[in-house]
Structure formats: C-alpha cells, structure tokens
C-alpha cells in the first residue's frame, strides 16, 4: 500500500532483541505514540501502569466493530509480519513471554497461519458492535472479567490496538514518528496523513462524519485528522424518520441500557438525572444507531445529553461551594465585628476606670 507521507528516520534504529526494555519504552514515549483505537491514551503511560502492577500479557486488538470500517483489518493483512514483530517488542518491554492477537474474521486469521510465530496466540472474536471494547475483549480472549470502573492495565494486561502496535514497530525498527495511519475513507482503506484538515481528504461537505457511519460525529471540515480516528465519511443518512418507539435500540444494547427511554427524554431536562449512570456507562459502540429503523443518530443525542448533564452537575457543585464559602465569610465577618465590639467595650471600660 502507498504511504501517505514520505517517512524519514527521526530516531536511531534500535535492535530490539538486544536493547534494554527501558530504552524501548523511552523510544515509545519519544515517538509520541498514543492509543490509536479511539481513546488516545499515551501508550508509554499505559505500559508503565501495567508494569506497576503485575505485567501478564499483551493483548492486541484487531477486532473491527463497526460495519463499514475495515482499517484495522487492512492493516493486519498487509503488515502482518510487522505487527507480530511489534508484539514481540511489547513482550520485551513488559518482560513477559507470549501475547494475544484478537482478530475479527477467519479470513484475517488465515493470513497469520502461514507465518507461524510461536509466541503470539491468535484468537478469532466474533465482530459485534461491542466485542472490540477492551473489557469485552479481555473477557472473550483471556476469560477474565474486568469491572467497568477498572482498566485492564490494572490487572497487568496491556490492551493495544493493532495500529498502535504497528506504530511502535515503526518507531523502534525504522525510527519513524507516526505521521499517517490507515483510515476507511468512504469505505476504502487508505493511508491518510495525520494533522490534515478532513475536507482536504474527502472534499467539502456539510455532512462530514469523523468516525464510522454509526459511531461517528458530525465534523467540521477544518477539523484535523488524528491518530485516534479510524474512518471518515463524507455524508450521513439524510432526514431520519421520527422515532416509532420500536425499542430495537434497547434490545441490541450490549450494556442493556434503556436507550429508547433515554432518547425519549431528550427534550426533558428533568428526566436526565435518572439516566445519569446509564449515560456515563455507555461506551458509544453504535449498536443502537445500527439497529434504528428510523436512522436516528442516537449517539449524538446521548453525547449531547451527557455533556449537558456534566455541565449541570459542575455548575451545581460550583454553586454549592460558593454558597458554603459565602456563609463562612459571613460568619468570619460577624466574628470580627463581635471581637471589635468587645475590644471597644473593654477599652471604654478601662478608660473609664483610668
């Protein structure tokens, strides 16, 4: 595949088999590699967090969750050897032996079969809208349950996206800084330069979507491409039909959130509070958007409600603190006034005595 950017080696090429793990970790930090699956968490911090606990294994996430997005799959098929080498680098960083690679289809699985690398275990995970979420992936690949308020890194499991692993490989073995990534641009996988306005890649449109057609957000053309972005669409489904309360969104939600009820309360601020926990539990897999027969962008509503709820809560907390401090100040002023009055009284008394 043709790369989008002509790469120049910015760092010295390292022979990872003989280098110390610390030097490899430093390289990952210097190259500025962040998680390319979506959250954009700095990878070196994740590794350090993992090391702080008992490092157990590396889990590489190559499961594509959204229909119509195939960037990771294309990357795996075209750069299988590089990714396996990246896995080996990470194993050395953590000081573990063995890693896991989860892929979303049998087809991708077969590409690896011929390579026969001993240390990396391959698993095929059925690609559903939620199977690529890291906790669900750890559950299905390693059989370990992780609570929704914990991270896999706390259990010594380093979960990284394949694109991140590829970037690590390039940073270590080629000395490159990540400057491009594979994105699904209108259903075609291409290398796309990073930090480039979206409209320079897909052209001008009022319906630009950053992300896949289900989980993506309406984007401004001036918005820059980022390492965490895996797809760009130049249009969204036009004119959704009204919600007919069919409840399919609730049926498909992997977290069993009352999606339809949340959507129905979208114009009623008083009702948001009861869904506060649900809104914060949602990890935006987009299953509801996919299921909706009326093609409503439910995720947009959820994101918007979540942000206004957070805003409201913050304002309320701020008001509470202000109120407390105001009361405290009034008490202090009163105390000072009392003390002054006492002093004056005692002075008057003593002067009279004198």
């Amino acid at each position: 595949m043709k790369r989008a950017v002509f790469h120049v080696a910015e760092f010295q090429v390292l022979n990872w088999k003989s280098e110390q793990p610390e030097i490899l970790r430093d390289r990952i930090r210097e190259a500025g590699i962040v998680g390319m699956g979506g959250a954009g968490y700095p990878t070196h911090e994740k590794i350090e967090k993992c090391l702080a606990y008992d490092p157990r294994t590396v889990l590489v996430n190559g499961v594509e969750c959204e229909p119509g997005v195939s960037a990771d799959e294309t990357l795996i098929i075209n750069y299988a050897e590089e990714i396996l080498e990246g896995c080996a680098i990470l194993e050395r960083c953590l000081g573990t032996t063995g890693s896991h690679l989860a892929v979303g289809s049998r087809f991708v699985f077969n590409t690896f079969k011929e390579l026969k690398k001993a240390n990396t275990t391959l698993t095929v995970v059925e690609a559903t809208p939620s199977s690529g979420e890291e906790r669900a992936l750890v559950q299905s690949v390693l059989g370990q349950h992780i609570d929704s308020d914990e991270f896999p890194a706390n259990k010594g499991i380093l979960v990284l996206n394949v694109a991140t692993v590829f970037a690590i490989y390039e940073a270590v073995c080629k000395g490159y800084r990540p400057q491009d990534r594979i994105m699904t641009v209108n259903c075609i996988d291409v290398w796309v330069p990073l930090e480039e306005p979206i409209e320079c890649i897909v052209g001008r449109s009022t319906q630009l979507t950053a992300g896949g057609c289900y989980t993506g957000r309406l984007a401004d053309g001036q918005q820059l491409t980022q390492a965490t972005l895996n797809a760009i669409e130049s249009d969204r489904p036009p004119n959704p039909s009204p919600c007919i309360r069919c409840g399919w969104c609730t049926d498909v939600c992997p977290l069993k959130l009352p999606v339809e009820a949340i959507y129905a309360s979208r114009e009623n601020e008083d009702q948001w509070a009861q869904f506060a926990v649900d809104l914060h539990t949602c990890f935006e897999c987009g299953a509801c958007v996919e299921a909706c027969p009326s093609q409503i962008q439910i995720l947009d509503v959820i994101r918007q409600e979540r942000s206004s709820l957070t805003h409201q809560n913050r304002a309320k907390e701020h008001a509470r603190i202000a109120n407390e401090r105001f009361a405290e100040r009034n008490r202090r002023l009163e105390r000072l006034a009392n003390q002054a009055a006492e002093r004056r009284a005692s002075r008057e008394q003593s002067s009279r005595k004198w």
Partner: protein
C-alpha cells in the same frame, strides 16, 4: 439475534402489504364493498396526513396507509362510505396529528377512528349485513335466554368461528406469524393478547349454557381478533416500553375484549379494549421492570 435491516418506511410498507392476503379473503366472503371501504379509508388517511403536515412526501412513510387499511378492514363491509371517510379523518387528525404526528400518538389512530364511528353511529354499524342479518358476535351478545348451542345454529355462525370472519382471521394469523417469524413484531404481544382473550373464555366456558360467554375458539376466530392481535396491539408507538409491561398490556387488551364482548353494549369490543390499553401505557411505563444489567 438477527434483525432485518429495514428502515421505518420499509417496515410500514411491509406491514401494509402483509395485510393484503387478509383483505383478499375478506373480499371473497364479504364482497367487493370491503375493497372500496379500504380504498376510501386509505385515500382519506393519506389526504388528511398530507394536508395536516403540508408535506406530500409524508405518503412515503406508509404509516397512514397502514392506518387506512386497518380502518377499512375493521369496519363492517356494508357501512356507508361517508362514515368510512369520517373514520379515516378522525384517525389521522384526532388519533395522530393532534399528538404531534407519527411516533408521538398515545392512542392507536385506526382504533380512534373506528371507535368514533362506532360510538357516534351505532345504528349504521350494528344493522349492517343485509344478507345474513347480524354477525355472530351480535347474535351471541343479544341472544336472550337461548344457549350457545342454539345460538350457534344461527346462519351467522361458520364452521368454528363467526361466518366469514373465521377465515379472515386465519389469513391474518398466517401473515401475522410471518411477521413474527421475521422479527418485525415481537411474539409476546400477539400471544399475550390471544392468551388474555382465550384463557378467561376457557375458564368461564361451561360448554354452552344460556349464560355462557362463548367458546375460546369462537372468540379467537370471531370479529377482528387476529387483526388486532397481530396488527393493532403490536403498534410500537402505542405500546409500552419494557417487555414485562408489553405482556401486561397485551393480556389486558385481551381481557378487556372478552369483557366488552360478553357484557358490553357493543358486539365487538376490540377497539375500546385497545384504547383502554393505550390509556394505561404511561402507567405501565412507570413500572420499574428492572432490566438485567450485565453481571459485574
């Protein structure tokens, strides 16, 4: 669970076209007047929808067509056409538009239209069939002191249900099962309604004394039972949210139907039963049927 990837308009048109076999059977038994009724009802519903929204493309969403077909199928065949038109107008304007359009209505539009005509013009509806006199439900309801066995020898009775209506009901059962099979409608709504109707009927069935309510089989295949169970109760807009509430809702409508059929002044109580059920929806939605959270 694999769901067909259909858009809302496609769903509506699928439901509308699945009503056609039943319409065909009804035409065979009751003559071409029912076709005319359906055509008038659909036409009036579409026009009312277009005029109220001022958007001719609203026709493409199919919901007014389904409403019109339901009205045409549930009204008696020999009813004057201006009453069909009135039912269609009331369905769209009073049943849907005043609530804010598709997806916001509390009551099933078709049943609103039907009930309005039923209440306002009872003479025209109960004295409809010139050839067979009254329907079987009418005979059962107003039979006086005779037993069910004697009543069932009336020419209004068919092989196992009400004459004509039994095969229309079979047709709707067939197409309804097709919709359930393709997961367009959930299975528990029609089942709940049918159980809610047949179970009390079975409990109170004393093999046909003069005070009997009629056999469960008769009730299942009389009037608009199957049409209501598969096409009216399953309307997602006017059904409650959670599965538990939906089952309560459907069985409630079944029970109401039986009660109105047995004791009410009107021969077929389905429309009122559905409207009553719809009125309970906001209440049913308040019942906290806790969803199972993924075990943590």
């Amino acid at each position: 669970m694999v769901k067909p990837q259909l858009t809302t308009p496609q769903l509506m048109w699928l439901v509308a076209s699945s009503l056609l076999p039943g319409l065909l059977v009804a035409t065979l038994y009751f003559g071409h007047t029912i076709l005319l009724n359906c055509a008038v009802a659909v036409g009036v519903c579409l026009l009312a929808d277009i005029f109220s929204t001022r958007n001719p493309r609203i026709v493409s969403d199919g919901s007014a067509t389904v409403t019109g077909l339901l009205i045409g199928l549930s009204l008696p065949p020999s009813i004057p056409l201006h009453l069909v038109a009135l039912a269609g107008l009331a369905a769209i304007l009073l049943g849907k538009v005043v609530f804010g359009g598709l997806g916001k209505n509390t009551f099933n539009p078709a049943m609103v239209g039907y009930a309005l005509v039923l209440v306002a013009f009872p003479e025209d509806l109960t004295h409809f069939d010139a050839t067979t006199g009254a329907t079987a439900l009418d005979v059962l309801s107003h039979r006086g002191g005779i037993t069910v066995g004697e009543a069932s020898r009336s020419p209004a009775y068919g092989d196992f249900g009400a004459l004509g209506y039994e095969y229309v009901n079979v047709a709707f059962l067939g197409t309804g099962l097709f919709l359930v099979g393709f997961r367009i409608i959930p299975w528990y709504l029609p089942l709940g309604m049918l159980v809610g109707l047949a179970l009390p009927a079975l409990l109170f069935y004393d093999s046909g004394s003069s005070a009997s309510l009629g056999s469960p089989l008769f009730h299942l295949f009389a009037g608009g039972t199957m049409l209501a169970a598969f096409y009216v109760v399953t309307d997602p807009v006017t059904a409650p949210r959670s599965v538990g509430a939906k089952i309560l809702f459907a069985t409630g409508i079944g029970c109401f139907t039986l009660i109105i059929r047995a004791f009410g002044a009107w021969p077929d109580g389905i429309a009122f039963a559905v409207l009553l059920g719809n009125a309970f929806v906001p209440l049913l939605d308040k019942i906290p049927f806790r969803r199972r959270l993924p075990t943590s």
